[in-house]
Amino acid sequence: MAHAIEFRDFSLSYGKTPVLEQIDLGIPSGTCIAIIGPNGSGKTSLLKSIVGLNKPDTGTIKVQGHPPTRAWRRRIQVGYVPQIKSIDKEFPISVYEVVMLGRTAHIGYFRYPGKKDRLIVEDSLRRVNMLHLADRPIGHLSGGQQQRVFIARALAQESKILLLDEPATGLDIPTQQSIYELLDELHGDGITTVTTTHDLLALEFHHFDQVLCLNRRVIAFGPPEKVLIPPILSQTFSGLPWPTRLSFSYAQ
């Protein structure tokens, strides 16, 4: 199976602080991946590297065979949904317009959105159950609703790869579930999804094909039943307590 994303001997540091070390990893196309690790383990940095926002010290990343910063020129879009952050509440832009931003590169310079773009935007909003709020200013929505709008924007990019950084954090249970249902749908469409979480209970809500245990290095990468075992979790979370209920259920 071809790799959607491939890391070769990848290392990254911010100044003198190493963030990621010697990452060698191939993420197969069409799989649903979870990245787990404690805060500061480099999960977000790994995702930002895939979209070209972080430049490696050594090593390479290839997205569908191309380096990330060039990938977009070949119209290989990687959908990226960052962690919930506070946005400018007063910014004069509607939900619909935010999702249309995801179409910017497809539309191209000196052009306006066409019928196809509008249909894709509507469809993306429908998939995250936000179409009824399309005309609202983005700043008037709750954090969870904004998160869904940003997922819709990533969907509107029509990318084969979707990265979600802590998509469930801070959301209520029904919203979390709807996000995991969406992951299943995307999986059915053959889209590679990479989701980070520091919450191991998320792995009980949803089945991921493979789990990457990250703590600056790759501690383990494999199917959940092989990876979510006490020795590996203990190493990933550096001896911090992880939810025992989870380790118990997988241990059985």
């Binding site: 946005i87 004069p92 832009i93 317009e97 935010v98 931003l101 910017t104 310079y109």
Partner: protein
């Protein structure tokens, strides 16, 4: 009616009116992006920093307008570069460079024997002194900047709303950022002709901020800002003529009145005001 037409029998008033119309529209549009991108301080900084460019131009007997423009654009790009390469926030980079540049300007001016009227014109604005050549630059620069913003409208909106995601989807964020800084610089120097270096922020910020009180849509915001910018400029110009006060002051005060009016009456903010008990 003759109150409106009478002043226009003078050619300098005709040039002043055309100049302020273009400047009013240009500052309103650029000002909207400045407010949304939170760059208000850079307008102020570039205006004051450009003093060194004007002083240098004066010293070397160059055209003040052109030397001021070139200097301000270089200063803007340098601010962007310092922000990107040194680990300082944009505000800090502006603070460092504009004060240094202004110090340089003051140093040059203090070596001159006479405090020249040309330079005070730039400090306080002298819309009535616009020459045909100045008018050409005002119109040319306004049209070019408005054209750039129209052609790359959706890219600039993306960059303004969410820089990081714009970069992820392949928008050349860095180029847009430097282009925006350069356009702000040119706008500031051009607007300094009417309102003066000291009051340039008024035209840049107040019409857009007033429009902000009325709407949640960016397109309507831009349109309203232009209307308010034009009104401030033109009304301010006539007030300046009839009351014999400095054009910069009358334009800035007209803009401020529009803001006060908008703040008190705009429906968009009424709910907020009610919840504050106002």
């Amino acid at each position: 009616m003759h109150y409106l037409l009478d002043p226009l029998q003078f050619p300098f008033m005709q040039r002043a009116l055309i100049g302020t119309i273009f400047i009013g529209a240009l500052t309103a549009v650029i000002g909207t992006f400045v407010i949304l991108r939170r760059l208000s301080f850079i307008g102020e900084g570039l205006a004051h920093g450009s003093l060194a460019g004007l002083a240098l131009g004066y010293l070397l007997h160059w055209d003040l307008y052109i030397s001021g423009n070139i200097y301000a654009v270089s200063l803007a790009l340098f601010i962007g570069l310092l922000h990107e390469k040194a680990k300082v926030t944009l505000d800090t980079a502006i603070g460092i460079l504009f004060s240094t540049s202004m110090a340089l300007g003051i140093a040059i001016i203090s070596t001159m024997k006479v405090y020249t009227t040309n330079l005070t014109d730039y400090l306080f604005g002298s819309v009535l002194a616009i020459s045909s050549f100045d008018l050409g630059i005002i119109i040319g620069a306004s049209l070019v900047i408005l054209l750039v913003l129209t052609l790359f409208y959706k890219e600039f909106v993306f960059y303004t709303f969410d820089m990081e995601m714009a970069e992820v989807t392949g928008i050349p964020r860095s180029r847009l950022h430097y282009a925006m800084l350069a356009m702000v610089a040119i706008t500031v120097v051009i607007a300094a002709q009417t309102v003066g270096v000291i009051l340039v922020t008024a035209l840049l910020v107040i019409p857009a901020a007033s429009a902000f009180q009325w709407t949640n849509s960016l397109k309507r915001l831009l349109m309203l800002a232009v209307i308010f910018g034009l009104t401030s400029s033109v009304v301010g110009l006539y007030l300046s003529y009839y009351l014999n006060i400095a054009s910069g002051a009358s334009i800035a005060l007209t803009a401020a009145s529009i803001f006060l009016f908008s703040f008190l009456l705009a429906p968009e903010r009424r709910r907020l005001k009610r919840s504050l008990g106002l």
